[in-house]
Symmetry: C2
Subunit: 347 residues, 2 copies
């Protein structure tokens, strides 16, 4: 049999000496066909290399059972946990994921959204690039009522649901903790304020300062990409300040920038937490390895992923209506470790 020609149910029927109708029913696992015949048909289909016509039937039913996932970067600890959660939830319901990354570039995100649209995904899961300024590139989805779920880096829109954690509340809690440990001159290493996650972390930080009658010090608020290098740069910035102008506590918008800032300060002889206390965000594996271990905010990327996909699929199956839900806020938890324990000796 030619290997290039498409195998059809007629080939299977001929091979087994039964009717094509029986083969068709057998492949659909129709119980009108005896179990042993169904097995024979399935075995023959496999042997001959028959591809089920999900593809052609998708075209007829307009459902592809495929979800598009657009993320800023695939290679972060958080995003890989989110993807793992999404894949688990999707495959359980018979859905597949097509993925693309914007590499933090809004133009690339526009192209990716258009590709997903033309691939006819049944729904879209998206976390925005750092410099995305509007949602025009999603208009075609909204127009055709293809459901869109935002996660982590979200943007308010009437026709979508957002899956987030309470960034404001978590930042407020971390900052209050640092203040309780005796910090009076607090620094914030934050991210791009175009993104809600980072704006809300800054706002929680500021509100906690205000509620404790402490000043927000402009020159101790640094916005960066939150990379390893940004952490090293922040350490240099702190070391260049006159000793009296240095912070005595730092709240960082992620663990990477916190850990590499700590490493830079330790190399210069500063003591953590005695001279400067530290707190991060994400509970990344490095937070448990750095010495002293880093106080941080734990939230499960996997839960973000499963929640986003479950809500999208419930909507697609008509079980729930995504357009009624504005926002789903997931739990996060402050994990206190030695990097912030100025007052406590029991950690």
């Amino acid at each position: 049999m030619s290997e290039d020609r498409e195998i059809t149910i007629y080939d299977i029927a001929k091979h087994l000496g039964i009717s094509a109708a029986t083969v068709s029913r057998g492949l659909k696992n129709n119980t009108m066909i005896s179990k042993s015949t169904r097995k024979k048909i399935a075995d023959a289909a496999k042997e001959l290399g028959y591809q089920s016509n999900t593809f052609a039937s998708s075209l007829r039913s307009k459902n592809t059972h495929t979800l598009g996932v657009l993320v800023p970067r695939l290679n972060s600890h958080f995003m890989s946990s989110v993807l793992a959660g999404m894949e688990k939830a999707a495959s359980k319901q018979g859905y597949n994921l097509i993925i693309a990354q914007s590499l933090e570039d809004a133009d690339r995100e526009v192209v990716n959204a258009s590709t997903m649209f033309n691939k006819r995904v049944d729904g879209l899961l998206i976390s925005l690039s750092a410099n995305t300024e509007n949602l025009n590139h999603l208009d075609s989805f909204f127009k055709r009522k293809i459901p869109v779920v935002f996660f982590d880096r979200v943007h308010p829109h009437a026709d979508t649901t957002s899956i987030i954690i309470d960034n404001y509340g978590a930042a407020y809690k971390v900052t209050s903790h640092l203040i309780q440990q005796g910090c009076k001159r607090l620094m914030h290493l934050g991210g791009n304020l175009l993104r809600d996650v980072y704006r809300q972390r800054l706002e929680g930080f500021q509100q906690a300062l205000k509620d404790h009658h402490l000043p927000f010090i402009e020159e101790l608020h640094i916005i960066s990409t939150l990379s390893e290098d940004a952490g090293t740069d922040a350490a240099r910035y702190i070391l260049d300040l006159p000793v009296s102008k240095r912070p005595d506590g730092v709240f960082c918008a992620n663990d990477t920038v916190a850990v590499h800032c700590m490493i830079g300060l330790k190399a210069a002889g500063l003591r953590i937490p005695e001279d400067i206390a530290f707190a991060g965000f994400n509970n990344d594996p490095i937070s448990k390895v750095v010495e002293p271990n880093l106080t941080t905010v734990d939230y499960s990327g996997e839960v973000v992923g499963t929640t986003a996909v479950s809500n999208l699929i419930s909507h697609l199956k008509g079980i729930s209506d995504l357009y009624m839900t504005n926002q789903i806020t997931l739990r996060s938890e402050l994990i206190v470790r030695a990097s912030s324990a100025k007052m406590r000796t029991d950690i």
Copy 2:
């Protein structure tokens, strides 16, 4: 206009008061149509929510421009770097990725392979689960000549190309380095030997011992999942040994198990590298954070990903023939850091 009805080229034609043939040509960017008309057509298509018929034309041409990616787990630093590299290389050539994870379960890998086959991926990229024992689940791909590329966790097969690093050589180099630093009783924390990567790392370790006339000590060879917990368990195992039976150097098949073993030993008062030297594998972010910094093997997951996809697409485009290539071995590099510097004081 109803939002549920499919928008066709006839709708665009009617909207613009031009012929459907002109719309069709314009959408294909045919230069017979003036640039301004092409722009008008593109704008109208966007406004009306027209979906290009890549889907239907895929059915005709039998190409989906989609590659399947099957991995053991999505949430590891290495795998997320591989995926990032794959996505970059694929999107550059107009291909999309559908992803699925086996969660180290061979049965799940079988189901995932069948899904990818029925989704009619143009090619498959696969890294095997820890307990996959044969390639029967890929037979349908081989039969239909859908190209398969293995990466990282590979299995010899005539019809595929494997993208690997020289695990044997890297392990030999690391072990020789530990021996040069004065280690005489070496331990190996290794992975499941069903997988070539771990078998080859063990073999490189054993050959280096042999070449330096040192014994391979059975009770100092521990096979595990290489997780954080496995590292903690290994520390306990070492601490339970009589002091004279403890290793003076440990070569670990990944950085996670190395770092968490080090943390356990340090907590018990052992000095690294003075009492026990350490070396890992992967150059994971934690290797630069643990104290002392971990000696390790660096190889780029991103390069593994781009190489795998580039080779697959070159084959699909007829530029090169994958069936002629047996194996592509990528460069890796030993990075010596303080965890193994028994002899050297300059690190």
